[in-house]
Amino acid sequence: MPSTALLLSQAFNGLALGTLLALVASGLTIILGTLGVLNFAHGALFMLGAYAMYVVMAHTGSWLLGLLAGGVFMLVVGVALERVLVRLFYQRPHEDQILVTFGAGIVIVEAVRAYFGGNTKSVPTPSWGQGIVRLGFLFYPTYRLELIGIVAALLFALYLVLYRTSIGLVVRAGIEDARMVGVLGINVRRAFLAVFALGVLAAGAAGMLYAPIVSVQPDMGGSFLVEAFVVIVIGGLGSYPGAVVGGLIAGEIVSLTSAFNTAYSEVMLYAVMALLLVLRPQGLFGSEGRV
């Protein structure tokens, strides 16, 4: 039986992982819900965000600049990807959409490998995030703790965009019935562009923030993509609250299981997903017969 301190520390790790999964998955879920496209390039875009942070940090040493420049870069990538590629596939079958985004992901990963090489890059922790914090009887890395707060703030910002703005209103309606949004006089295609760019930004931001605590390398997005899929299945396809709650649940399952046996952490995640699919096939916040 692991010690209480270890369990507590893993619970915090679960929160850090969970908020990041929530951020990646919310990007995935709003794209899936609104556009109907399952974006298999999402993991590669997460990785691209981490490299954006690496490049800016290596040249300027500024974390804040990395976040801002990286954010603009991800928006540009998102807009370009939607205009040049994804847009052409809205009317096509899901298999085609999966294949084309999967292909785009491979191109991004291999382009990064060709340019930066396949070896691991390390991104320094920003100055204000170094060291450890004492939480009662537990010592915990400062940056990880701050990370939880930063990602929570980003998730809240995304919540405000989705629930307090006109574009958010269009997105939430579009997730339910994009055609009816058009019948009410709204140019859904333009909203699609904004949603795709926003989803890509969410994936990239997660990569940027995660960069200092993982090894940055071209294939880092793969496992994150799979976990993000599990998150949106648990939370309910197309549901933003589902992505947040599902992300936190998934993060805790993986981290707490690791405290007992690392080998079973992913197994436990899939077991919970399978159980949930039996009991509540539409996911925690999903509605039946959608997407």
């Binding site: 055609r179 006089g185 140019n187």
Partner: protein, 234 residues
């Protein structure tokens, strides 16, 4: 030139390879309420969907206020002042009543205020914070009509507004429809409930197998039981 606000001229619409509408022509004048009747599968809904741009006719023309709209995407047609209230109502269940209305008003050049809508539908004011999914069938239909009204649509296309609702609710909605007609709203209504539709229509078209089979006044239709039986089964 004709004075009709909406003119549909010899349109032919298809779903895939199946030919649904055959040279359908109809007109709706300003401030006129026109009922489009017919049996199930006669092409009534397809006619409305063709006008709204959800189905693009392969031939023929559709004009709103003299301007050709056939081939435009639905959102542009909506901005020109046509508004479909679909059969399935298509209320956004995850949005509140008020959000449904605000969404509809977003791109309307002369949107009504929420207060004006709530005066017309006091029930919706009571339910304004409720999610669309929590509404009863009658409330959903009111909200669907309210979304067209808040846009101040020039022409409202009502698809089976009374379908699947309890008689008391239908009575309320018929009263609302009459109020709209009395206010001079221009409405093209598709309905299976012939009696209800005839109670507020100025003119009637009967569709049969995708063809316009008859055109006339409600009184003339009521006075012709053979016609009613042949085309409407009542």
């Amino acid at each position: 030139m004709s004075t009709s606000l909406l003119e549909v001229e010899a349109i032919n619409s298809f779903y895939g390879d199946s030919h649904i509408l055959f040279d359908v022509s109809l007109t709706v004048g300003r401030n006129e309420v026109v009922a489009l009747l017919g049996r199930n599968g006669a092409g009534k809904t397809t006619t409305l969907r063709s006008i709204m741009g959800l189905v693009t006719p392969r031939s023929g023309s559709i004009r709103l206020d003299g301007r050709a709209i056939s081939g435009l995407p639905p959102f542009e047609i909506a901005r020109l002042g046509l508004q479909l209230v679909p059969e399935e109502r298509a209320i956004f269940g995850q949005l509140t009543v008020e959000e449904n209305l605000r969404l509809a008003a977003l791109t309307a050049p002369q949107a009504w205020t929420l207060d004006r809508i709530y005066e017309f539908f006091p029930r919706l004011r009571e339910r304004r914070r409720s999610g669309g999914r929590q509404l009863s069938g009658g409330e959903q239909q009111m909200l669907a009509i309210a979304r067209a009204l808040i846009r101040d649509a020039q022409v409202i296309l009502l698809d089976e507004p009374f379908e699947g609702l309890a008689p008391l609710i239908v009575r309320d909605l018929v009263r609302i429809s009459r109020d709209l007609a009395a206010q001079g709203r221009t409405i093209l209504v598709v309905e299976q409930n012939v009696v209800a539709a005839l109670s507020f229509a100025d003119r009637v078209y009967v569709l049969n197998n995708g063809h316009v089979a008859w055109e006339g006044t409600p009184a003339a239709l009521r006075g012709d039981p053979a016609l009613m039986k042949a085309h409407l089964g009542v």
